[in-house]
């Protein structure tokens, strides 16, 4: 079981890299975790052993060493491979619905809940004094019959 767990989180990244600094290593790791492999679709660059993923990892490192920012590197790849390579979709018109849907659904659910509550409150019947007296009498009768 433990072996299986370890295996499932293993990275396919096989290259040995020398990093100039810890921050460079951390940024590289974060980028290849976040970018998606265009060939194998359900894996990120870090997890994929497809040749294209190897090439893209090398490209990410090359861009890092050129002194590009994380954002520039992601934009560079998006310009060539499309929005598809992001695992975290950008905030843009085509993704407004995607990002907004959870909040929207929450609002709808809250609205529905309030509506149900209100309806229940309206259905609560207030008894007049006469009705109350009738009710008391009925209940008393029942008690006496027992």
């Amino acid at each position: 079981m433990v072996c299986w767990l370890l295996a499932s989180t293993a990275n396919a990244e096989v290259e040995v890299r020398d990093f100039d600094s810890l921050t460079e290593r951390e940024r590289y790791r974060a980028l290849i975790e976040e970018l998606r492999c265009p060939q194998c679709q359900n894996q990120n660059l870090a997890a994929s052993d497809a040749p294209i993923a190897q090439d893209l990892r090398a490209e990410v490192l090359r861009l890092l060493r050129e002194g590009r920012s994380d954002r520039e590197i992601i934009d560079h790849l998006v310009a060539r491979y499309g929005d598809f390579v992001r695992y975290r979709p950008a905030w843009q018109p085509s993704t407004y619905l995607l990002w907004g849907a959870p909040g929207l659904l929450l609002l709808v659910a809250a609205g529905a809940w309030l509506w149900v509550l209100r309806r229940q409150r309206r259905q609560r019947i207030e008894l007049g004094p006469e009705q109350r007296a009738t009710l008391d009498r009925l209940l008393d009768d029942e008690r006496q019959q027992r």
Binding site: P38, Q39, Q41, P51, I52, D55, L56, E59, V78, A79, R80, Y81, G82, D83, F84
Partner: protein, 176 residues
């Protein structure tokens, strides 16, 4: 009104079924190219035959196909006869020999026939990264101004050509 409410679950089901049905017909592997309607990225690469180094102006002047292939790519072999047929019909095709051994590529063309007007060699795959190539074969329709108009990932056969690529190709051919 209360009666109508009974139909709400059915309605939800129908909408969901419709959405899922159309989702079934979509190919999840087909990525829209980020480069469609953008100029071909500039390059300066050697050709397969001879010592010349060419740039993107090689693809200017008329509509062409840019076909990404390699001898290591099994699907490219399936595609090859159809490329030869297209070349026979007068479609101009430029090859991009992607991450391949030039000698093997020359031997392949000598044995199987050469459908290409010219073959550009991208041995390291650097230009492939510029194009957003993630597999082979891939084929781009490039118009006379060197602008990418369509991208097809995968093998071109008669059906793919007729249904998807030819209409785009024809629409960019400038009437003489």
């Amino acid at each position: 009104m209360e009666r109508l409410k009974l139909f709400v679950p059915l309605l939800i089901f129908l909408v969901l079924a419709l959405v899922l049905y159309f989702g079934l017909g979509r190919d999840p592997r087909a990525l829209p190219s980020a480069l469609v309607d953008r100029p071909l990225p500039p390059f300066s690469l050697p050709v397969l035959e001879g010592d010349a180094v060419v740039d993107e102006s090689l693809l200017h002047g008329k509509v062409r196909l840019l076909n990404v292939w390699g001898t290591w790519c099994v699907a490219c072999r399936d595609e090859h006869p159809f490329l030869l047929e297209l070349a026979n019909r007068g479609v101009a095709i430029v090859g991009l020999n992607y991450k391949d051994d030039p000698d093997a590529a020359r031997a392949w063309l000598a044995r199987l026939g050469d459908p290409f007007e010219a073959v550009v060699v991208d041995a390291a795959g650097r230009y492939g990264l510029e194009l957003g190539v993630y597999g082979a074969p891939e084929t781009y329709v490039v118009d006379a101004d060197g602008v990418i108009r369509y991208r097809h990932v995968g093998v071109i056969d008669a059906d793919v050509w007729r249904d998807r690529i030819e209409p785009v190709y024809r629409s960019w051919v400038i009437p003489q």
